[in-house]
């Protein structure tokens, strides 16, 4: 997924929907320093409407859906979630809750069940710090009506005793993780195992949601890309055969066996160093 700005017309429409009182102060397009807000619906069996500052922002929002990200000026937004047939935000099923969004922050608001099965909403701050080259980030969030869990990768716990609505963030070598979720201290999966692609330079956020008692636990996934950094260099030669500073008789150095031996003697120290370095790995 590329870094995308929401087209100005859509952004303006959505921002007006956030409340007429804000509209005059809003920029025509996303500005640097705006916050990014995504919304995940993780309450099973309930299609909802989402109101932001009393304006309908997400109509008929279905469970398991992820909306956004929307670029928003920093500030505090009131979010109310109603049944999908509600006429307005006056009788919310969840909220209203105040979401404080800081400039430059990246957030996901999640409507989900508490550990004992009551609808609620949690605002998470997504970690968008730069990753080392070759690394991916795995964020695990417990948004299910279930007790504390362990997250297992390849059969062993990588996250222990995670409770609703907590999260755990791991930076890992990029690759596919076979992940499952089990009651803490156990290894029998209640979700999974499922292959999760922890892609390089990406924060892959996995949500456990649903209800253990109702037998509808599931995973939802959100990804935030563009967090990569570059290799530190390209070390692409070790013999000096085409060096511009090679000793006399360059032709001999390239094709003459005896000259190669001379060259080899010159680099023997380096080779020994490499051997030591490899042995230490």
């Amino acid at each position: 997924m590329q870094k995308k700005k929401i087209p100005a017309a859509i952004a303006a429409g959505a921002l007006i929907a956030l409340g007429g009182s804000l509209a005059g102060a809003l920029p025509a397009s996303a500005a640097d320093g705006d916050a990014k807000l995504s919304v995940l619906h993780a309450v099973p069996g309930l299609t909802v409407d989402v109101y932001v500052n009393n304006a309908l922002t997400l109509d008929d929002f279905t469970p398991g859906s992820l909306a956004g990200p929307l670029d928003l000026p920093a500030g505090t937004y009131s979010v109310a979630i109603t049944a999908s047939d509600a006429a307005d935000a006056s009788s919310p099923a969840i909220g209203p809750v105040d979401l404080k969004l800081d400039a430059g922050g990246n957030y996901t608001a999640v409507a989900h069940l508490t550990a004992d099965g009551k609808p609620t909403a949690t605002l998470y701050t997504n970690d968008t710090s730069t990753l080392a080259a070759g690394q991916g980030r795995l964020t695990v969030r417990h948004d299910a009506a279930a007790p504390a869990v362990d997250v297992l990768a390849g059969g062993s716990a990588v996250v222990s005793n995670l409770s609703n609505p907590d999260e755990k963030v791991l930076n890992l070598p990029a690759g596919t993780v076979s992940a499952s979720v089990a009651a803490t201290g156990t290894t029998t999966p209640v979700i999974g195992p499922a292959d999760v692609n922890v892609a390089e330079g990406v924060n892959t956020i996995v949500y456990a949601w649903g209800s253990l008692a109702d037998g509808n636990l599931a995973l939802a996934v959100q990804t935030i890309d563009g967090l990569h950094s570059n290799p530190s260099g390209v070390p692409a030669g070790s013999a000096g055969l085409v060096a511009t500073n090679r000793p006399a008789d360059p032709t001999g150095l390239v094709i003459g066996g005896s000259a190669l031996l001379v060259l080899a003697a010159g680099t023997a120290v380096a080779l020994r160093r490499r051997a030591v370095a490899k042995a230490a790995r």
């Binding site: 590329q2 929401i6 859509i10 959505a14 919304v39 995940l40 922002t57 997400l58 929002f61 398991g64 859906s65 992820l66 909306a67 956004g68 929307l70 080259a133 070759g134 990029a174 499922a194 292959d195 999760v196 692609n197 390089e200 330079g201 949500y207 599931a218 995973l219 939802a220 996934v221 959100q222 990569h228 570059n230 290799p231 530190s232 260099g233 390209v234 070390p235 692409a236 030669g237 070790s238 013999a239 000096g240 055969l241 085409v242 060096a243 511009t244 500073n245 090679r246 390239v254 190669l260 060259l263 080899a264 010159g266 680099t267 120290v269 380096a270 080779l271 160093r273 490499r274 790995r281």
Partner: protein, 163 residues
């Protein structure tokens, strides 16, 4: 506001990966393998100069955006001189062919060849994952540090797609 189903994604249709690079005019013909990062955080390269590394976390040469990086050792004490040694003399317009394992070919033409001190390699440009699609071939060159056993410069060939 865009909405998606947040369920576990099915594996996306993969963009082909490079399997060979050829520069017919210069006699370059090497196989290509996907590589990531070595222990030092640098691009990992096969020891054999006859096998090039494609930086697997960046764009493929068959992708529609960004700089695809394929690099190979210029030489090695074990294997001798590599094909990529010829790249330093590539004139602008030289044809570069990248072939995938399934036989697809992407065609490029050399735009520039630069020899850059390794401390000055523009990583953000070379490894850029966005912008116009292009192929970046990298090897070593310039002066050699006989004590440390490495070259002081990278030879960076930038090539643009040929329709």
């Amino acid at each position: 506001m865009p909405r998606v189903d947040a369920g576990l994604p099915a594996s996306a249709p993969a963009v082909p990966e490079p399997a060979r690079v050829e520069v017919p005019a210069l006699g370059v013909d090497v196989s290509v393998v996907p590589e990531g990062i070595d222990d030092a955080g640098a691009l990992a390269l096969p020891e054999d100069p006859g096998v090039a590394a494609w930086y697997e976390y960046g764009p493929s040469p068959f992708a529609d955006a960004g700089s695809s990086v394929i690099a190979a050792h210029v030489d090695s004490l074990q294997y001798g001189l590599g094909d990529f040694a010829a790249l330093a003399g590539a004139p602008a317009g030289t044809e570069v062919l990248v072939r995938s394992a399934d036989g697809t070919t992407a065609r490029f033409a050399v735009v520039s060849v630069e020899t850059t001190d390794k401390t000055g390699v523009p990583g953000a440009t070379v490894f850029d994952r966005t912008g116009a699609p292009r192929l970046t071939l990298i090897t070593c060159g310039g002066e050699f540090d006989y004590g440390a056993g490495h070259y002081l410069s990278n030879v960076i060939v930038t090539a643009a797609p040929v329709p």
